[in-house]
Symmetry: C2
C-alpha cells in the first residue's frame, strides 16, 4: 500500500520538481546571456544597472531553489520509484538544494554584487597595472567566500567546500592525488627540457598577423572542426570563454598580433567547450540531464580538442594550408615546423592562457596554493603580488615585472571563484584518458584528423560524454566512457611520449 502510494505520487511530484527546476534554469541561462553581453557587448558605463540585474536574477534563482517548495518535493520523492534518469535528476537537484538552503539569500546577493563591481575594477587594475584597485574587492570576495563555506559546512576545510561547488562529484583528496602525480612527473620533465639544447622551430610563426584576418582564421578554424553556426557565434573577449545552451553555445577568442597560434588554440579550446554544450540533448533543456557535468569534464572537452586534436601533427597536416590561405606570409612553414611551434615549451612564460601544455600545470599549482592560503587566512590579500612573484621564480624560473602579467592576469578571482583553477589541470588529465579511449574505439582516428574528418570523434564524444548530461557522477561517467576509473596514467604517458620525442629526452 505504502509502496503503491509512493509509486503513484512519484510522477506528479517529479513533474512538479522538473517544472520548478526548469524555471530556475531559465533564470540562470538568462543571467548567462547578460553575462556574455557584459563582457562582449555592453558599453563601459552599463555596469550599475547590469550589476543590479544580475544580482536580482541570482537572488531570484536562489529563492526559487530554496523557498519555492523544492525541499518538500524532494522529501516526497525520497522513497519514490524512479527510473534511473529520474533518480539522477533528483540526486542533482537535491545536492544543489542542500548546499543552497544553507546559504542566506543576502549573502548570495552580496557575492553577486561584489562580482559585478569586481569585474570592471579588475579590468582597470590590469590595464593600469595597479593591484590596489582590485585588492579591496578581492579581499571582500575572500571574506564572503569564507562566510559562504562556513554556512555550508562549518566542520570542513572551507577550501574543500568551495572546490565542491565546481566539482561536487570529485573528492578533493582524489583531485590532489592526481595533481601530485602530475607535478611529480612534470617538474623533472620541464627541468630537463629547460636544460636541453632544443632546436625546435619556435619562430615558425614570427611576424605580425593582422587581427581582422585572425578573426577570419578563427572562423575558418571553427568551420574546419564543424562548429554549427546556426547555434552559435564568435566574438572577441579579453578573457575568452564559452557560454550558452545546446541551442545557442557561443565562443569568444582574442588576438595578439604577434601570436596567431594563440588565437587558433583559444578558439579551438572554446570550441571544445561549446561542443560539449551543443551535444547535450535538446529535449532535456532546463533539467540536469540537459546540463554539462562539472568543470573538470567540461575542461576535458576543451583540452581534448585543443591539445589532442589541435596540437597534433595530424591536425597541422590538414590545417596548415588553411592557415596559409589567411596568412600567405607563412607559406614556407612546413607541417613539422608548425607542429613544433605549436608544442614548444616556453622557458619564460608568465601568462597562463599563453602557456604550453606542460608548464600550464605549474601555473595552476601556483594559483591553487595561493587560493588555499587566502581562504585559510595564511595569506593577506595585500601580499598576493609578492607571493605570486616568488612562486613564479621558484617553480618556473621567471619573475613577473608587473602585476598585470602576474596575479592580475586572470579574471576568475573577480568572479569570486576559488577552487575553480584545479579543475583546469584535472580536465587536461581527463582529456588524455578520454582521447585514448576514443583512439581505441575509432578506426584510424589519427588518419581521420589528418583528413580533416571529425564526424566519428564528434559522435564518440557525444554518445559517451555529452549526451549523458549529469546522468552519471564524474567517476562513473569516466568509467562509462573509458572502462576505467579516472586516473593520471594516460596523461602522464601522453606527455612523456610526446615531449620525450619532441625534445629527445632521456626520461622518455
Amino acid at each position: 500500500m505504502a509502496t503503491e502510494a509512493s509509486t503513484e505520487s512519484a510522477p506528479e511530484a517529479y513533474d512538479e520538481l522538473v517544472a520548478k527546476v526548469k524555471r530556475i534554469s531559465n533564470v540562470q541561462n538568462a543571467a548567462g546571456v547578460l553575462g556574455w553581453d557584459q563582457q562582449v557587448m555592453m558599453p563601459d558605463e552599463g555596469t550599475p544597472a547590469r550589476s543590479q540585474q544580475l544580482s536580482a536574477l541570482s537572488a531570484i534563482s536562489h529563492e526559487l531553489l530554496v523557498e519555492d517548495g523544492i525541499g518538500d518535493l524532494l522529501d516526497d520523492l525520497d522513497s519514490a520509484d524512479l527510473s534511473e534518469e529520474q533518480a539522477a535528476v533528483v540526486r542533482e537537484v537535491r545536492r544543489e538544494f542542500e548546499r543552497a538552503a544553507r546559504v542566506p539569500t543576502e549573502l548570495v546577493q552580496e557575492i553577486s554584487e561584489t562580482s559585478s563591481e569586481a569585474l570592471p575594477a579588475w579590468k582597470e587594475a590590469k590595464a593600469e597595472n595597479d593591484f590596489s584597485k582590485f585588492a579591496p574587492l578581492l579581499e571582500r570576495h575572500v571574506e564572503l567566500k569564507r562566510e559562504y563555506a562556513e554556512h555550508i559546512d562549518p566542520d570542513k576545510d572551507p577550501y574543500e567546500v568551495l572546490f565542491a561547488e565546481f566539482e561536487p562529484c570529485l573528492p578533493l583528496e582524489q583531485a590532489e592525488e592526481i595533481l601530485d602525480e602530475v607535478r611529480e612527473t612534470l617538474v623533472p620533465m620541464i627541468d630537463e627540457i629547460r636544460e636541453s639544447e632544443s632546436d625546435l622551430a619556435t619562430d615558425a610563426f614570427a611576424g605580425t598577423f593582422d587581427e581582422d584576418e585572425q578573426m577570419e582564421l578563427s572562423r575558418s578554424t571553427l568551420d574546419t572542426l564543424g562548429y554549427p553556426w546556426e547555434r552559435g557565434r564568435i566574438d572577441v573577449a579579453p578573457h575568452p570563454f564559452s557560454t550558452g545552451t545546446m541551442f545557442d553555445a557561443r565562443v569568444t577568442t582574442r588576438f595578439d598580433e604577434s601570436d596567431p597560434l594563440g588565437a587558433v588554440f583559444s578558439t579551438i579550446h572554446e570550441f571544445g567547450h561549446a561542443t560539449y554544450t551543443h551535444g547535450l540533448p535538446d529535449e532535456q533543456y532546463g533539467t540536469p540531464l540537459g546540463e554539462a557535468r562539472d568543470l573538470s569534464v567540461h575542461e576535458s572537452q576543451s583540452r581534448l580538442w585543443e591539445n589532442h586534436v589541435g596540437r597534433s601533427q595530424a591536425f597541422w597536416q590538414q590545417f596548415l594550408p588553411t592557415f596559409q590561405e589567411h596568412f600567405s606570409q607563412s607559406e614556407d612553414v612546413t607541417v613539422e615546423e608548425a607542429y613544433e611551434a605549436a608544442n614548444q615549451v616556453y622557458e619564460d612564460n608568465l601568462i597562463r592562457v599563453e602557456a604550453d601544455e606542460l608548464t600550464y600545470h605549474m601555473h595552476i599549482i601556483i594559483r591553487f596554493e595561493i587560493e588555499r592560503m587566502l581562504i585559510s587566512g595564511d595569506l593577506d590579500v595585500e601580499d598576493v603580488p609578492e607571493v605570486w612573484n616568488d612562486k613564479y621564480e621558484e617553480y618556473l624560473g621567471v619573475r613577473p615585472e608587473t602585476d598585470s602579467e602576474g596575479c592580475l592576469q586572470d579574471i576568475h578571482w573577480s568572479h569570486g571563484n576559488f577552487g575553480y583553477f584545479p579543475t583546469y589541470s584535472l580536465g587536461s588529465v581527463m582529456a588524455a584518458q578520454l582521447f585514448a579511449a576514443a583512439e581505441e574505439d575509432i578506426d584510424d582516428l589519427d588518419g581521420q584528423i589528418r583528413e580533416g574528418e571529425f564526424d566519428d570523434l564528434h559522435e564518440w564524444l557525444t554518445s559517451n560524454v555529452h549526451s549523458h548530461g549529469q546522468r552519471y557522477e564524474t567517476n562513473d561517467l569516466v568509467v562509462e566512457a573509458t572502462g576505467e576509473d579516472f586516473v593520471a596514467d594516460y596523461f602522464l604517458d601522453y606527455v612523456t611520449e610526446k615531449y620525450g620525442e619532441l625534445y629527445d629526452l632521456d626520461s622518455a
Copy 2:
C-alpha cells in the same frame, strides 16, 4: 492618532514597495537585454531556449507584481502622507498592479510564448512573402489579447483596454480627436501635393551607397548629435529599435543601398528614443521616476530629433559636409537639394518606416482601423491582406503587390502589440508642440542647429521632459513643458507651413 500611525508607517511601507518594484524592474530590464540579443545577436536556432527564458522572466515579473505583497503595501500607503514624488511612484505602481492582478499568470506566459514563436514566423513569412506562415500566430495573438482585455475590464471596448496598456494616461477619446484633426488636415494636403507639379530634388541622393560606409555615417550622425558612446552602442536590426536603461541605451539601424537617408533618419529616430532614456535620472534607476512616460511621449522624442531637427534645413547645412565625407559621390548636392530630398512626399510609398512625414500618418490610420476590426471581431485574420491592400489603394492610391511590402512589413503584431500604432502619430503631434516650446525658450535654436550645437536642446528636453520620468501623467507633463494642454495645433501649423512652402500649396 490614526494619522500619526499612517505617517509613521508610510516610509517603511514605501521603502518596501520601492525595493519590490526595483526587483521587478531588474527582471524586466534583463528581459530587455535578452530581447535585444534575440534580434541583434542570437543565432537562428537559439529560439526554443530564448523563448522559454523570456517566458520565465515574464511570468516571474508578473508574479512579483501580483503575488509578492505589493497589493498589501499599496493598501498600507492608501492614506499615507507622501511627498509628490512618492505619491507619483505609488500611483504608477498601483496602476500597473491593478491591471496585472486581473490577468492570470498563465495567460501572460502564453502571450509571451506566442510572441517568441511569432517573431521567427513573421520573419520567415516576410522573407518568403507567405502570410499563411504568420496567420495562425496572429490569430492566436488576437484571441489571447481579447481574452486579456476581457480579464482587465469586461465592460469596456477591448481595444480601449489594449490602448491603455501603451497609453495609460491618455484617454482613447482624446487620442482619437487629435488623430481626427490630423486626418482632416493631411488628407487634402496630400491630395494637393499629389496633384501639384513639384520639381523637388527627389533624386539628389540617387545611386548605390555601400552599407559598411552607411554604418560609419550612422556613427558620425550619432557623434554629431552627441550620443554618449560610453552608455550605448549601435547595431543592425531588420526593424530598428532602441532599448535599455539610462546606463546603457542602445540603438539599432538598418541599411538600404539605394536609400542612404533612410539609415540617417532611422538612426536619428532611435537616437531620439535613446536620448530620452539617457536623460532619466541615474539615481531613480528601477523606479517609475527612472522610467520613461508612455509611448507617445517616447515617440515625441524620436520624432522631434528625426523631423524637427534632422529634416530641417538648418541641420543639413551643417550635416551635408559630414555626409559628403562618407560619400564623395554626393559632393555636388546642395543644402537645398538635400533638404528637399529629406522632405519629399512620396506618392507611391508602401512602407511605413520609409514613409515621409505626411503620408506616415495614413500608414498609421490604416493599421489603427484594421486593429480595431481585428479585436472587435469584424475582420478575420485571413482577410487582413486583402483589406490592407484595399485601404492602401483607397487612402494612398497605391496597392501593395506582395504581403511582404503590405501587412507583413511591421514587427509589432508578432509581439501581439495592438493599440501601439496610434502612439506613433500622437508622438509626432506632441513633438511639434514640444519643439515649438523649445524654440520659444532657447535663443536662436535654428541657428544652433545650423552650427551643430545641440547642448541647449538636450538640456531643455532633459529638464522639461526626460528628468521627470513618470512623475507627471501625460497631459500634465505636456503642460509642465509647454504651458498648454496636449493639442494638435502646433503639428498642423508646422506641416502646413513647411509643406506649403516646399510644394507651393494654395492652402498654406
